[in-house]
């Protein structure tokens, strides 16, 4: 539970104006959140093994291509890439 609470700085930082400062703060907060997490035993990870606990790589690739074509940003989860004359 404590890990969930420590995670909130990551999600709450998007409204800040200075992006460099936000990235640094978010990185530090997330690192602190990760460092504070106790291990979960292998036999307790049954829920993590469910297919819906992983991103759908196929849909993610399609979405990346659509948004890369229509917006100035790309990547994040994976490579910003390119490979298309659409932007």
């Amino acid at each position: 539970m404590s890990c969930t609470r420590q995670m909130s700085p990551c999600a709450g930082s998007r409204s800040s104006r200075s992006l460099a400062a936000v990235m640094l703060a978010a990185g530090i907060a997330c690192a602190a959140a990760l460092a504070g997490c106790a291990g979960v035993e292998p036999w307790e990870r049954d829920l993590h093994a469910r297919a819906d606990m992983k991103a759908d790589a196929h849909d993610a690739a399609i979405d990346d291509h659509i948004y890369f074509s229509k917006e100035a940003s790309s990547g994040g989860r994976s490579f910003a890439g390119g490979g298309c004359g659409c932007n």
């Binding site: 539970m1 890990c3 969930t4 995670m7 990551c10 999600a11 930082s13 998007r14 409204s15 992006l19 460099a20 936000v22 990235m23 978010a26 990185g27 997330c30 959140a33 990760l34 997490c37 291990g39 979960v40 035993e41 292998p42 307790e44 990870r45 829920l47 993590h48 469910r50 819906d52 606990m53 991103a55 196929h58 849909d59 690739a61 399609i62 291509h65 659509i66 948004y67 229509k70 917006e71 100035a72 940003s73 790309s74 990547g75 994040g76 989860r77 994976s78 490579f79 910003a80 890439g81 390119g82 490979g83 298309c84 004359g85 932007n87």
Partner: protein, 431 residues
């Protein structure tokens, strides 16, 4: 190097088969091949871009530690796309990209390039292999082709588990080399659009051009609790070369009346300049995703912050809730919100008499814009595989550059909203 390991893998597989000889053969072969395919329709309103895309991935697991995958994508694009010019109170005629055709836009209408038509074929292949019990690496190749664009790329990624596999650190790198071959050649940045010419001259164009794109990605996935997971990734990308859109232009208008300025070129009524962007761009982004497993359902939330040295800053937030209706079917509502600030050199128009800037674009994709996506995916498992259908609505609202709406331009919608529908049918199965 990998090929030399193959006999070892085959030996191991044979040994495994011997050990598991008493198990039914079906159980051992059930997941050797995986196929994931989709047919996508993306359609914008007002006769703008439509894309019909087929994507198919096939993965072959050679054993527990090694797999090879390949993905083929075919996109068929039609429709019209904004050329960057602004509406006017009179008809405007633009020269087609080849210099040998033209199209006319009605008074008050957003200038759309109706010559837009493309087919894209992309291929990617990826090899994944375990290195011991706690490390994995994969390496991939990518290539895509359009009649005016060629991409070739390499990528690699290394993952290492720590802390009883509660923590996974990953590091990736990608490099791509693209060749841009616009119809009629690459226009000189900020040079005037000439009239329709059929004499075969190069009209000051410079042939083809290239760009290189390099990315690195570093991140960590952490199991937080029995139910939750956090992934954080930082990426840095560097692009060098021809980063301008060869088909985009800017209108030159009177700074008081907002009316288009007469051209001094033969065969064209008004002044339009080809856009010009810097020849390098550095991007960085921070991505974080949190997943939570309920007893039956799950929730995924992610945010992304991006900035680049063109002055663009963006924020993205996404939420997906997976409602596992029963063992066979699910419904997954999806929300996405996106906001970006304009590039330093974005300007909706150029004013007559102003000094020519070093760089300028009127491409709305580099302007101030907000967008959202709302939709849902429904999936149903059968005895043979899983069908899915995804339906989404995407809307983008852009804002013109400050001070652009002078005179008559104040009466036009300089940045009309973009509305699009996304429909995707999917089918995946193992054999």
């Amino acid at each position: 190097m990998q090929l030399k390991r193959k006999p070892v893998g085959a030996t191991l597989a044979a040994a495994t088969c011997s050990l598991l000889g008493s198990l039914p053969a079906v159980a051992q072969e059930a997941k050797a091949w995986s196929v994931d395919s989709s047919l996508l329709y993306y359609g914008e309103d007002n006769g703008r871009v439509k894309d019909l895309s087929l994507m198919a991935s096939i993965r072959r697991a050679l054993d527990e530690d090694r797999s090879l995958s390949a993905t083929l994508t075919v996109d068929s694009l039609t429709g019209a796309t904004p050329n960057g010019a602004v509406p006017a109170g009179v008809p405007q005629t633009f020269t087609g990209p080849s210099g040998g055709g033209s199209y006319t836009v009605a008074p008050g209408a957003q200038p759309l390039d109706t010559t837009f038509l493309d087919t894209r074929v992309a291929l990617a292949a990826n090899w994944q292999q375990a290195l011991g019990t706690a490390m994995r690496w994969n390496v991939g190749l990518s290539a895509s082709h359009e009649y005016d664009y060629l991409h070739l790329g390499l990528n690699a990624r290394l993952e290492r588990d720590f802390n009883q596999r509660n923590t996974t650190v990953f590091l990736g790198a990608a490099y791509g080399q693209d060749e841009i071959k616009p119809v009629g050649g690459v226009p000189v940045g900020l040079s005037p659009m000439a009239g329709e010419i059929d004499d075969g001259t190069d009209r000051g164009r410079a042939g083809d051009d290239t760009k290189d794109v390099a990315d690195i990605l570093i991140g960590v996935t952490q199991v937080l609790t029995r139910r939750s997971l956090l992934e954080v990734a930082y990426s840095y990308g560097q692009s060098d070369g021809y980063l301008t859109d060869p088909y985009k232009i800017l209108s030159v208008v009177d700074p008081v009346s907002g009316a288009p300025v007469a051209s001094t070129e033969d065969g064209i009524d008004f002044q339009y300049l080809y856009e010009h962007r810097p020849d390098s761009r550095t991007k960085q982004s921070l991505f974080a995703e949190w997943r939570y497993a309920f007893d039956r359902d799950s929730l995924a939330l992610n945010v992304r912050l991006m900035d680049d040295d063109w002055g663009v800053q963006s924020q993205t937030a996404e939420a997906r809730y997976r409602w596992n209706i029963n063992e066979r079917s699910y419904l997954e509502p999806h929300l996405r919100w996106y906001s970006q600030g304009a590039a330093d050199f974005y300007r909706t128009v150029l004013f007559e008499g102003d000094p020519l800037p070093a760089f300028a674009t009127a491409d709305y994709r580099l302007g101030d814009l907000d967008a959202y996506t709302i939709g849902a995916k429904y999936g149903r498992r059968t005895a043979h595989g899983e069908f899915s259908v995804r339906l989404e609505y995407y809307q983008q609202s852009a804002t013109e550059s400050p001070g652009a709406a002078v005179g008559a331009l104040a009466g036009f919608d300089l940045t009309p909203d973009l509305k699009a529908v996304i429909v995707q049918f999917g089918y995946k199965f193992d054999f």
